[in-house]
């Protein structure tokens, strides 16, 4: 090879390596934008609100006196709404995903359903709120209750769960299915004894990521009327409700008026007193920590379940 040719070749390789490094830097910057923005927001909230995140903040009801205000009714409301959401969305979402992936015949109807599910994930959340206002609050007459909010958010995260479940079903090797059939298993035996346990990690991840989204949702919950001052807790089953002097039923709490964390935060942001803005920041910290905690849990669960899989 001519010395000149070698030189041009080296120059070419060097140039391509430069491009490689260049993209590495651009990619890193692009990643950092997201991380730094979140970090900056979180630190800003933390600086404004850290002084207010005390045990009393979690055990006090909202009050006109900012220093005595707390998020008791809001976090209890959020927790109960999430409970309803999980119980509604998980069985529905997982069943729908299993049907679409394992049972449904491949034809234009399933294609249509598939396109719909994917698009559903992109519908603005306020639209779910309007749907819920008409359907749950008025037609089904659940009122402005924990039940209405939980079902609304369940609809909202249904696509997330369906997509995540299908992804993890697809990741299971086809040989597992064939082996089950070869041993004479029915489709349901194959699904319930093999596919569901193996895909549990992915399903749980989907569920928790969906929940992390739902806990921060504001618009659909405002639409069904949760922008409200609430200084009481939903009735605890089988205890005496002071408002009625009767023993509360097992499901009475489902119909209780409620508020949730992001709405309590929104409420405080619009107040004139700076002390309420601190409360809002503290609530923001609580929401972000809850969301990050849920995501961490998802990662840990996935790790645990994958480790135990032995194919």
């Amino acid at each position: 090879m001519q010395a000149q040719e070698i030189q041009t070749l080296r120059a070419l390789i060097a140039r391509h390596k430069r491009y490689d490094i260049l993209f590495g830097v651009i990619g890193l910057l692009a990643t950092l934008v997201g991380v730094i923005t979140l970090l900056a927001l979180f630190i800003d909230l933390l600086m404004d609100g850290y002084a207010r995140v005390t045990p009393e903040f979690f055990t006090n009801f909202p009050s006109r006196r900012a220093e005595q205000s707390g998020i008791l009714s809001a976090w209890v409301g959020s927790a109960l709404v999430m409970l309803v959401t999980v119980f509604a969305a998980v069985p529905m979402g997982v069943a729908a995903a299993i049907y679409l992936e394992e049972y449904a015949p491949r034809n234009w109807v399933t294609d249509l359903i598939e396109i719909n599910v994917t698009n559903l994930a992109g519908v603005p959340s306020i639209v779910y709120g309007l749907l819920a206002l008409g359907l749950f609050v008025y037609i089904l007459d659940f009122g402005q209750s924990i039940l209405s909010a939980g079902l609304t958010l369940a609809l909202l995260i249904l696509p997330v769960i369906i997509v995540a479940t299908r992804e993890s079903l697809r990741a299971i090797p086809i040989a597992i299915r064939e082996a089950a059939y070869a041993l004479g298993a029915t489709r349901w035996q194959m699904v319930s004894q093999h596919l569901i346990p193996y895909s549990m990690g992915g399903i749980l991840t989907g569920v928790i990521i969906g929940m992390a989204r739902a806990i921060g949702e504001t618009a659909p919950v405002i639409t069904i009327g949760a922008l409200t001052f609430i200084a009481f807790l939903p009735p605890l089953p089988y205890t005496i409700d002071p408002a009625t002097d009767q023993v509360a039923g097992l499901f009475d709490w489902l119909f209780s008026p409620f508020t949730v964390l992001p709405i309590q935060m929104f409420n405080w942001v619009s107040r004139p007193q700076p002390a309420f803005l601190q409360n809002a920041a503290a609530t923001g910290v609580v929401i972000i920590v809850a969301t990050l905690g849920m995501n961490a849990l998802a990662i840990w669960l996935r790790y645990r379940i994958r480790k135990n899989l032995k194919w």
Binding site: S145, P242, P272
Partner: protein, 336 residues
């Protein structure tokens, strides 16, 4: 409520069958539902907080925020017991209530005063007449009135930077009604926001800025803002907004009473009645505490009398009025 109870019973019954047990359960007794204006909200919230403490949780009170108009929509469908309103009920809302057979008792509970604010470094616009404010905000000013010296020749040659309330707020309705003379009639080329804290920041940062907001926002931001004294016309004295001038009725035309409307049928519920009476007895103290101005003491007594007599209807006949005293309103023949 009733249907919900049945539903709750059904669900409980199903669960009970599953668990092999019969369940007792409670319905929504002891709940007072309030909704409506965000302006009235802080006062009602304070009252609800104190009331629930006073009855030791025997009555639950929820106070929602859906705006005066949104509140009346729910109220006239019979969904709420009490509606918070930063303006009197309008003609079409009276109609809606009438069509659904909802009668109501109108009760003023406090004063809200709008404050015109400027930057503390602004040393020229310490007092303004209503006519000058109109010149700034009327629809005809759009794109034309852009300099302070167009308002008064002695003002400096400096750009006029306007802020104000967004079109969905009761504050906007009242300001335009009182200053321009017609509700919702305003120029559109200024910083319009539903969040008064944004107006505060805007005026705080710009010496040429002017805006208007609720008195509480001015009181809570001492040092950042300066209030403008308002003159009805050239000859009348300039009046600064304060608890005293609003309460006495001399701060005109930018102070207004705010109301609660009580569903006549709900008023027969002893818990709603107890809440309303508690409201009128403690409204003076609590409204001051949250940055509003209390009504003259006599007005609360009159309002309480009106409530006890269950005097239904409105004193306004579906139109907002500027500059009427509260005692006069309460004594008026009601319209339905």
């Amino acid at each position: 409520m009733f249907k919900q109870k049945i539903l709750s019973q059904k669900i409980s019954a199903i669960a009970g069958l599953l668990a092999g047990a019969v369940l007792a359960h409670a319905a929504h007794a002891g709940l007072v539902k309030v909704d409506g204006s965000s302006t009235v909200y802080p006062v009602t919230e304070a009252v609800a907080e104190e009331f629930q403490k006073a009855v030791k949780g025997k009555t639950k009170v929820t106070v929602g925020i859906s705006g005066t108009g949104g509140g009346f929509k729910k109220f006239c469908r019979g969904e709420t017991d009490i509606s918070n309103a930063s303006r009197p009920i309008l003609k079409q809302e009276m109609e809606a209530c009438k069509n659904n057979g909802i009668q109501y008792i109108e009760l003023p509970v406090a004063f809200d005063a709008l404050t015109v604010i400027i930057n503390p470094k602004n040393n020229w616009a310490n007092e303004l007449t209503v006519a000058e404010l109109k010149k700034m905000y009327e629809p005809a000013a759009q794109g034309k009135i852009t300099n302070w010296n167009q308002i008064r020749p002695t003002f400096p040659n400096a750009p006029l930077k306007l802020a104000g309330a967004g079109a969905d707020s009761g504050t906007f309705d009242y300001f335009t009604e009182a200053i321009v003379g017609k509700a919702k009639s305003s120029r559109g080329d200024y910083l319009a926001t539903e969040d008064d804290n944004v107006t505060v920041q805007f005026v705080e940062r710009d010496v040429n800025a002017i805006g208007y907001l609720g008195l509480a926002y001015y009181v809570e931001n001492p040092g950042k803002l300066k209030a403008v004294a308002i003159k009805m016309d050239d000859k009348s004295p300039a009046v600064l907004p304060s608890l005293e001038t609003v309460n006495k009725g001399t701060y005109q035309p930018l102070s207004r009473p705010i109301f609660i409307y009580v569903n006549r049928k709900s008023a027969d519920n002893p818990e709603v009645a107890a809440f309303v009476e508690f409201y009128l007895k403690n409204g003076a103290k609590l409204s001051k505490e949250v940055g509003y101005v209390d009504l003259p003491a006599k007005a609360y007594t009159l309002a309480l009398e009106n409530f006890k007599k269950r005097k239904i209807g409105t004193a306004f006949g579906g139109e907002a009025e500027v500059g009427v005293s509260v005692e006069e309103l309460l004594a008026r023949e009601a319209k339905h």
